[in-house]
Every structure is written in C-alpha cells, then in structure tokens.
Amino acid sequence: MKILTKWLRAYLPELPVDDAQLAEDLTLRGIAVEGIFDLGPGNGSLYEMDITTNRVDAMNHYGIAREAAAIYGVPLLPLDLTLPAPQPAAAVFPVRIEAEDACGRFTARVLRSITVTDSRDWFAQAEVDTYFRLLEQKKISSAVDATNFVWLAMGQPTHAFDLDKIEGGIIVRRARKGEKLKTLDGIERTLDPEDLVVADHAKPLALAGVMGGWDSMITPATKNVLVEAAWFEPMAVRRTARRHGLHTDASHRFERGADFDAAPAASALVSRILLAAGGSIEGDLVDVRVPALEARTAARKPIALALSEVQRILGKTVDAEGITAATVEGVLAALGCTLAPAATDAWSVTLPSWRLDVEREIDLIEEVARVYGYNRFANTLPAFGGGVTALPWVQAEAAVRDTLRAAGFHEAIASTFCSAADAALTAPQPGLVVPLGNPLSEEAGVLRPSLVPGMLAMVAGNLHRDVSDVRLFEVGTVFSGTTDKVDERPALAFVAAGQLPEQSPLHPARLIDFHDVKGAVEQILARFQTRTVYFDRFPPEAGLTPAWLHPYRSARVVAEGTTVGWFGQLHPHEAAARKLKDAVLLGELYLDRLYKLPLRKPAARELSRFQPVRRDFSLVLDQSIAWEEIDAALAALNVPEIVDWRVREVFRDAKLGARDYSLLLGVTFQAADRTLRDEELQSYQAQVIAAVNKAGARLRS
C-alpha cells in the first residue's frame, strides 16, 4: 500500500518529526513502512507500507495519520465534510435493507445536475490532482476519481450509481435464483441465491460490497447520481466475492470489517467532489441502519479497563515510572476511545467504530503497549523455582544417533510424505497407509509409513550425482492407521553404498557389505540392556521378509523376543527400478520398541591377573552349517575358563569339497584364579573339538 507523507501532514499540522523518523516510529508500532521514496522538493515521501490484516482501519491516509497523532500526542484535524444546503426533495428516496443479517447500514444521497468530467481541478483545496499524480493513480472520470479519493483518504468503499437507471428505489437483498448481473468488469454473472446484492425494485444493480453493475454505472452522459456508502457484514461479502472469484478494494475492506460510522462522512466527501463542477443535493441523507449489527460495531458496550491489569500484563518499563494512568488515558483517547472513570485508576472504555479488532480488555492493554512503544519496556527475567524434566527417550535417542555417527553415517532429514507405490512397498503394516487430502504432488500423496522411501530417494540422489560413498541415517516419525485415526511412531532408517567410511592412502579401500551394516545394528543394540538378541531370516515363500529387501541377504532383528527391525541388501528388482547399479544396504529399526528396553549401564567386572591362552582351530564345514550353530555349541559347553571365541576367518578352499568351507575359530582360555595347567588346557581343547564336531564341523588335519 502506498502512502504520501504530504497527504498525512495535511491532517497533522503539528507533526514534529521528519519523514524518516515518522517511518521508523510507525514501524516500531506495528504500522510497517517497508520503503521510503523521496518524491522531490515540496512533495514529501512515498511510503511503501505493509499493514497486517487486523489493522484494516490503518490502510488509508487518515487511519495512519490517527496513529501518528497518538504516537506524538499531536492534534488530528477533522475531515472537512461541509456540504451545500440540500434542495428539498418531493419524497425521501426509498431504501430498504431486506438482508438484515448481511447489511448493517446503507446511506444514499441524491445529487442532481452534476457534470461528469475527466478534470480534477475542481478540488484544488485537497490537492486531489497532486496526490493522484504522486501516487501514479490513473485518471478515469470525476465520479470514479471521487470514490477512489475517498478510498485512499479514509478507507471507506463508496459507489456512485446513475440515478436515472434506478427503478423505484434501493433494496439490499439476497439474489434470486437465476438472476443475472453484468458487473463493471464487463462480465455477465449468474447470481447465487446466497449472493448479497444492491438492487432496485426491478433488478440487481451491484454485488454488494464487491463490485458495481455495468448498466447503472456513471457515464459522461450521467446527470443525476445516487451516492452509496454502506456497511456490509464481512462473511457475506467474503462468500459473495469468493463465489465470483473477485477480490476488489471494496471486498478487501468489507471482508475485514469496515467502519460502521464512516458511511455518512464518506458520502459527504464523495458528494463534495462531485458537486465541485456544479449540481446540487436533493433532500437529506437517507440513512438506514440495522440495530443488531450496529450493536456489534459502532454501538458496542463499553469495556472495563483497570490500570492494575495493564501493569500485571505488561510489567516494568525502562523508565522507572512504569505505565501510568495518564499514559493509558492519553494513548486510548488518541486512538478514538472514550474513557469514563469507573473507579480509582479504572475506566469504562467506549470503543471506536473503526477498531473492530479491539473488543476486550487485553486488546486495550495491547494498544497501550503498542503506542507506548514495545522497546521502552524493560528486559526482566521471571523467577523460577521448578526443575527441568527430560523426555523418557532422550538418552536412548541420543545413544542411537551417536552410535551411527561414530560408525560414519551422516544424519539426514527426509520428506514426511512418499508416493502410494513406495508406501505399499515399505509399509510394515500393509493397507494401513494414510493418504493426504491435498498432497503437494503425486510423489508426496501419503504420510510415510516407513523411513525407507526417504533413504532410497537420498541414496539414489547421491549415486546419480556421482557421490558413490553414501552412509545416511534418519530418526523420524512414521505413520500408520486410517484417515480416522493416525498412529505415529519413531523409527530409524539407514542406508549405505560404496566404500567403508575410511580414508587412507596406505590401506586398500573395501566396499561396504552386509556384515558392516550388521555391525552397526549390533552396536546400536549393544547400547541397550538385553538378554537375547538374534538375527534370522525366513524362506521367501513365507512372505515375511519386506519386499524391499534381498530375500537371501537380509535379516530380521529380534531383541527380547520382539522384532525390532529389518536390514540387508536392497532387493535387486528395486535397485534396477531405481537405476541403482551399486549394491545398496539399508535397514529400518522400530525405535518405539527399542525405547522400551533400558539402556545398558556399564558395570566393571574383575579382570583376571592370570595369563590367557589363545588357540586357533581350523574347521571345515558343510555350507549348510551356519556359524550360529558352532556358536551355540560352544556356548552350551558353559565352561567359565573358555572366556572368548570368535571367527577369525572364513574362506573357500579349492582343496576342499565343493560344498565345504573353512572357518578359523579362535578360542581364548583363561581362569580368574590361577594359571591354567597343561592338562586343563588339553581337556578344554578336547571339549571344544567335541562340541564343534557335534555341530557338524571337522578339524582340518
């Protein structure tokens, strides 16, 4: 919105500051001046302003002048509304408000024998011509310019009808089904029975508060005019404007609440301009009001305001005096309120008709703070006696994040949405996918049931940009349920491709593989206190393995008997569909289940002071025998002196049978209380050999 300081100063003869200072002071009071442009000597400045929608009363010159008057405590000149005495009318011009819920006030003034010109010289006093030139406001005709001037001056929409096109009188009513109206933009509109119209006794003349009608508009041939200044109800105008896809200055104002009492003044201003080139007023102003709507606007009940409440909410000021009764009275009076003393330092405040946004005591307190100046309040800190409580899963979440970061995974944040196809592929509970009503795009049509789609999009994004080493994870929310009830849970997903997160000029690089990722999962689980953790997989025909995983290179993670997630290599079908040539490893853990486990609390155990003995066993196994079985056999021995066993190496050897593989098993023997004797060692080794034999392994000779 553009505002001329020259115009403002016409209302504020005692304004004590220059344009730059005025701009800053207005801005700090919520009447934001976004830009100042010097218009040359004697012309003042042009302000580019951004007024918030709640302050529709300040979207015009007089409204902003009123703010300035309040800030500096200077007088605001009243608008000059003097009119020539009217000629007597044979009869009062008939005006009737039929839609009493939607039109609160309608004023009509009849002007006779006027001249419509394209000159603006007729109103030199108010410098209409200068203001319009400085605002680069297009010249149209005296009738249009008059209503535009009043709009810019005081923000009240008005309309001028060609009186001779009006049959009978004015009725403000709802449209009838099938009625037609050609509006000023030249479009023939079919009206809706909900549309609010200004009609005569035969036909609709205008979309009330939105746009005038073509047939009754002022033309160079117009002699007699009916000036309309009215108050329409915001919702009625909003609905009418929306239905017709219209947004006009008038609808903008009415939708946000116009000034109920501005109509007579606006009518007078328009009439003064139109009469400047001759003509006369016929009869008195016709002013029809709906008391119910007046009571909600201009005639609102006074509200109680107490200084103690102002101080309780606002607190201390930089000035030790604080907010005083004089401050409250000065600010509110300047804004147009009437303050009647109710008790000591308490008032009954009558609200101005143009401030429909002010309706409660707190609104008045805000006005006091705003005009006094927010930055004149002190910076204080409230006393605090309570404690800070942490969310129950904070530490567990931190442990998960730390572990993955230490393993070389960067944290990522992906979209909350995914495509229906990705959702069907990755949802842990098929069918329980929640669609959006107004998705951003088809690819973002549903709430993500899994973090896997995000990980897949990100790994593809990197690989397609030739960033070949990818390690990402996300901790985020996944959604399941129906459009009636949506369930949210925390989840973790990770993805890896390319080489191990190591960089060395001296050691060869190696591609990351299933077991690297499994290691990361194991490390995460190791942060929790568990008795049993195992990994398994199912035959493909069981249909239990997620479809996004390679059926033979993936695993389910089970902790304390509960499935806590899945991971493995991306299914080659999916990799091909996404044009991913490199092997992609990924997984998802259900954090809500993991968070049910307590975090592991480190506890130190006594370290043996006696020499450990390490022995390696070279085993040959059939490929059907998994390490798990060897591991279980050794665990079953339950010999305290067998303190550790692990796979040192697994390899195929051409010298062995086609179905055989070699496994180098490293076992450590140690006693807590003594050095092991040779005979003891012999016995333990024999037990190890017997156990692995039983599991199907044989010792390589």
Partner: protein
C-alpha cells in the same frame, strides 16, 4: 667373546675368591665393550646369563658346589655381586639399541595424510534445534513434544483461530484425506506449527509451565529458496503468576544473546498472532555486520527472527476446560516461536532451504 673355560677353583679363602671373581668381571666387561648389534647383545646374554650354558650358571654349578660349607656364604655374596654387574652390563648394552643408520632405514613419509575413520555429522537442523533447546533448558524449560498429525481443534481452534481464518484453508494447510464428513474440530491435518503442544501440555499440567517445543511442521507452501512445505520450529511457553511482557522481552533478549553472542541486541515490533496478545515480532541486530547494514540484513542492520507475545486469554479459556487453574485473571504467560531452518541458514551460510532435506553427502559432510 671370552672363550676361556671357567677354571676349577683350588682355594676358597677370601683372597683367592677375590682374584677369581675379579678375573671373571674383567672378562665380562671386555665382552660387553665389544657389543655392536642387537644379535651380539643377545649372544652376550646367552654366553653369560644363559640358563644352561651360561658362564655364571657354570660358576654356580662348579664353584658353589665344590665350596666347603664355611666358604659358601662368602662365595655366594661375590657371585651375586658379579651377576648384578653382568646384568648391568647387559642392560647398558641393550639400551644402546640400534644405530642411527639402522633407524634411518626405517624412515617413513610423515607428510602423507593420516588414515581417517570418518565420523558421521549431526544434521544442521538437529544441531540448531539442540542449541536452542539447551539455551532454554538453562532457563528452566523442559522439552515438550506432540504429534505431527493434529486435529483442527489443537492446531487452530484452541489457538484462537477464528472459523474462517485463511490458515484453516487447504490452500495453506495440508490435510488428511476424507475429513469433510467430520466435525470441523476433529478434522486431521499436518500441524502447521508446534503450538498444539502448548495446549496439550496445559491440559496435562497446571501452572507453572515452562516448556520448549521443537518439532517438524508442514504447510501447503510452494518451495522456493527460503520456503519449504516441510520445516522445523521451536516454540516456547511460560505460564505462572505475574509473568509479564517485560519478562518475555528479557527472556528472548537473553536467549538471543546466548545463541548469537553477547553483543547482539534485540528489538520488538507489534505483530499479530491469534494466540497471543500483545503480539510481537523480534529482530536481532545483524550478526554479520553488527548492525551497520550489509547485504545479509538488506542494509537495515536488523534480522527478523521470531514471533512472540503474551498468551491470549482466549487460549487460557480453552486450557481451563481441563485445568481450572489457568484463570487469566490470576495467571499470565508468554509464548514464542522461531523457524529453525532460517536460523540454521543464517548461522551456516546456507542459501537453499531444500539442501536440508536432500540428503546430499557432500552437504551433510560439512557439518561433521
């Protein structure tokens, strides 16, 4: 190395013993003086101290056994002294270690880069969120969280948004499908701010309340360099008796100084939010130019960073339905909110908001 055999001892008087041991000591010293390589040192050790063929072992087995009982003590003392001397010689010889030439042959290129085990980076949004949360934790704020899918009631109605407010339109808010048949307040949508957690917290807990609410929020916005339909917010709520607007100012001024440095200044502008009154926008003095004016602050010297205000009594009225203690005549409070992306972009010089959500390793790796 001495090749002379250990002589047979004929007499065991002190003088004879002294002479015999002195001779051995001299031999040992001569042997030790000639040691040049680690192999030679090892040979010396075996020659003198070896458990089976060592010379001292031989002295022990031959002289000590042959000695008459009355001479055993004197002989033993001298034997131990000699053993200590030989061990000392061995230590001294071992300590000399390899020669410089040997060491020079082991030289490596220390200018080659070190082998690095790469560590993962915290996401800049998480990092910024955590920084903001910890500033408020130090002021006594606990963390509050809530669902990302909310009802119209929690997102709008109880936050005092009027029924026809534009934010409630699908133009601005992403909604779950098939909500049309439900009552307005039950309709499900993607929360547009973390404010619903304010009400959820007040419903659970009487005043005093101090919470800080980090979280992901969504709006039906077109993506551009600085706007994304997905973004993060941190909101805060403080309710107690006698919480004032000047407390709000002081709290945020303190928090901005903690986040951006003690020289940062704040200034407050009137603004409008349905759930606060009075409402304010807060600017901080530009952290790049110190307020002089630069490209980053559009030459204004100020950067707009957050919105805040005193909790509107209408919001307390909703809280009172479950917790009568939120009587706006007795308690008061303030709330504030800030966009995390905006702060992170400013702190780290990020120009495109979509980089936060693209998962580009090159972008994320910068924050390790």
């Amino acid at each position: 190395m001495t090749t002379e055999a250990i002589p047979t001892l004929m007499a065991f008087d002190d003088a004879s013993l002294n002479q015999a041991f002195a001779a051995l000591e001299q031999q040992a010293r001569a042997d030790a003086a000639a040691l040049a390589t680690p192999d030679a040192v090892e040979a010396f050790r075996l020659h003198w101290l070896g458990r089976k063929q060592g010379r001292l072992n031989e002295v022990s087995s031959r002289w000590l056994k042959a000695a008459p009982p009355e001479a055993k003590k004197a002989l033993g003392q001298r034997f131990n002294a000699l053993k200590a001397i030989v061990e000392g010689l061995l230590d001294a010889a071992s300590g000399a270690g390899p020669t410089d030439a040997t060491l020079a042959a082991e030289a490596i290129d220390i200018t080659l880069p070190g082998s690095r085990r790469l560590t993962g980076a915290e996401h800049p949004i998480t990092k910024t969120l955590n920084e903001i949360v910890s500033v408020f934790a130090a002021l006594g704020y606990s963390v509050g969280v809530g669902p990302e899918v909310e009802t119209d009631f929690y997102n709008f109605e109880c936050m005092n948004f009027p029924p026809g407010h534009p934010a409630r339109d699908t133009q601005d808010t992403l909604v779950v499908a098939n909500q049309e048949r439900r009552a307005q307040r039950d309709r499900l949508l993607l929360r547009t701010h973390t404010s619903p957690v304010q009400m959820r917290t007040m419903e659970q807990q009487p005043p005093p309340v101090r919470i800080v609410i980090p979280g992901k929020v969504h709006r039906n916005d077109a993506q551009d360099a600085t706007h994304s339909p997905i973004f993060h917010q941190v909101e805060g709520l403080c309710v107690d008796t006698n919480i004032t607007f000047s407390d709000l100012k002081g709290t945020l001024d303190h928090a901005m100084k903690a986040l951006f440095g003690s020289s940062v200044k704040t200034r407050f502008f009137p603004s409008f939010f349905p759930f606060t009154e009075p409402s304010a926008d807060v600017q901080i003095s530009c952290i790049f130019c110190g307020g002089k004016g630069c490209r980053k602050c559009k030459h204004s010297g100020w950067i707009e960073l957050l919105g805040c205000g005193m909790v509107d009594p209408a919001v307390f009225a909703f809280a009172q339905e479950k917790q009568p203690a939120y009587d706006p005549k007795k308690i008061s409070g303030f709330a504030f909110g800030m966009g995390v992306e905006r702060i992170a972009m400013m702190k780290y010089g990020i120009s495109e908001i979509d980089q936060f959500y693209a998962g580009d390793m090159r972008f994320l790796g910068q924050f390790a």
